[in-house]
């Protein structure tokens, strides 16, 4: 299986560990990724809050480049990029006049378009979970994990067409296939505050506190995520949250690809486990 790969800005900076672990996991399970040449930012929140045309042109320019290079399918691991791609395509798919305008801006006329996948979808549906089970090297059955999907992966369901919007299961199924027990909890798709981290930090602290608190109350040892913003807010702000709410969590926030990597026996340095602000070693040591 070969896919075009759109890492997005975060996976080249704050979430490099997501990029590296995903590449390592894909290599292990036989999925080939080809990074899109000269990709540009998808525009994310700043674009859709300031200009509708910009919020469509930026992601669609990337899809145009992907289509030009002969790919029909792309993997976008960042939940925000994934969401912007899907929303932009949905928008022009339903409005031919808008489509023509955007195609004028990006200087490309779409033929069939490009199907955008999240790696969760690829691993749980396209590849087949039994393949993962066959490849397990390390036993992580002592690690209790809650899967946190965040707000953008499954919503709105009409556009994203991925998993169950209120209580998704794909990440749970992947980890369970590897023998990692996942717990039921109520905050799978709650918002972490996302881009307010730098401006209205107290909102992020409150929302992320609620998520960490819920994870702790069901007895989780760690949280698995699939979005760079969720990871950044829960990991880098955890110490601040502990101070503000006078509590302790010490909950490492893993990208699900890192956990998959560990159980498939990929060496820790390839998964960049030391790049987290909340120590990951303690929990993993306990399991081993």
């Amino acid at each position: 299986m070969k896919y075009a790969y759109y890492p997005g800005c975060s996976l080249h900076s704050t979430a490099k560990e997501y990029d590296r672990s995903l590449r390592a996991v894909c290599e292990k399970v036989g999925i080939e990724l080809e990074e899109v040449k000269n990709w540009i930012c998808c525009g994310s929140t700043p674009a859709h809050t300031t200009s509708k045309l910009l919020s469509l042109a930026l992601p669609l320019k990337n899809l145009a480049e992907i289509e030009k290079s002969g790919f029909r399918e792309v993997i976008a691991p960042c939940a925000a990029c994934f969401s912007r791609f899907k929303l932009a395509w949905h928008e022009i798919d339903n409005e031919p006049r808008l489509a023509a305008e955007v195609e004028g801006i990006i200087e490309h006329k779409f033929r069939d378009g490009v199907k955008v996948y999240h790696p969760l979808d690829i691993l749980s549906n396209n590849m087949g979970l039994s393949k993962l089970t066959e490849l397990v090297k390390n036993d992580l059955s002592g690690l209790k994990v809650v899967c946190y999907y965040g707000c953008l992966l499954t919503r709105p369901p009409k556009v994203m067409e991925f998993d169950v919007c209120e209580y998704p299961q794909s990440m749970d199924k992947i980890l369970q296939a590897l023998g990692i027990p996942t717990l039921d909890w109520s905050y799978k798709t709650d918002c972490c505050g996302a881009s307010f981290a730098l401006t209205r930090t107290e909102i992020v602290l409150k929302l992320s506190h609620d998520i960490l608190e819920a994870a702790k109350s069901v007895g989780a040892d760690a949280i698995a995520v699939a979005c760079p913003m969720c990871q950044a807010n829960l990991d880098t702000r955890q110490e601040e949250i502990e101070k503000k709410y006078q509590t302790t969590y010490h909950l490492p926030i893993f990208y699900f690809t890192q956990l998959v990597g560990i159980s498939l026996g990929i060496p820790a340095e390839k998964l960049l486990l030391t790049r987290h602000l909340v120590d990951t070693e303690g929990v993993l040591e306990k399991v081993r």
Binding site: K52, S55, L198, T199, E240
Partner: protein, 263 residues
Amino acid sequence: MLLLSITPRYLKVRALPLMIVAPLLGLVYIVLLPVLGAITIVPLMLWRAGQLVRQAVRGDSSRHPVQRTTGINLEVGVMEFNIPSDTVSEFAQIIEETSGVDINVCYQCKKCTSGCPISYAMDYTPTQLVHAIRLGLKDLVLNSATIWLCASCETCTTRCPQELDLVKVMDTLRIMALRTGVKPKESEVAAFHCTGVANIRFFGRTFELDLIRRLKLSTGQFTKDIGLGIKMLKKGKLNLLPTFRGASTTRRIFAKVKEREKV
């Protein structure tokens, strides 16, 4: 005691038939009547249910009392109100034209507000904001903190029973506020979006250090999050140099978008 002493004789003489009749009557009331009732009512209910299903399948709901009195169309999942056009505010009409979302389908059930993770920090709840748009309170809406505190998490859009895409409306309102020169109530949030866009235009891909620098220059909060920033730099989470890859592409796109939006 008095009662006990008189009952035996009384029973012997006159109440013996009553002793047999009363339990029989009780039996009739408790067992037979409901059974008889069920025998007659159930077929009636089934007949009526069948009639309703047939109506729904045929799409013939003209005889339904709800539609007769309110004009609400029960055939589709989303209710459509027949609101006379002269009662729709000009502002609501503009919002519909620019976002494609008809605000008038809202019946104020407050599901958006209940699910909104940030409604606690807003000056108007999402439900109130929708109502304000319907009333045409343009100044109140564009000057609200709500439009800037919405995180676009898509919970409201996902859950709205009327399928009203509130996130799209929020985007439209923010863009409208910026273009019409309204001073954003949450100036830092607006500054973040504007600096974010400038950053993308200049570098092609987000360069976080410059984004933070620009944000600090525009908000004046130079010391905020410095400790965290240093920690992240130490962990290598922030790139020290930009790549400029794709910068020529984004600048071209930005120029074209600007040109089109002027018209």
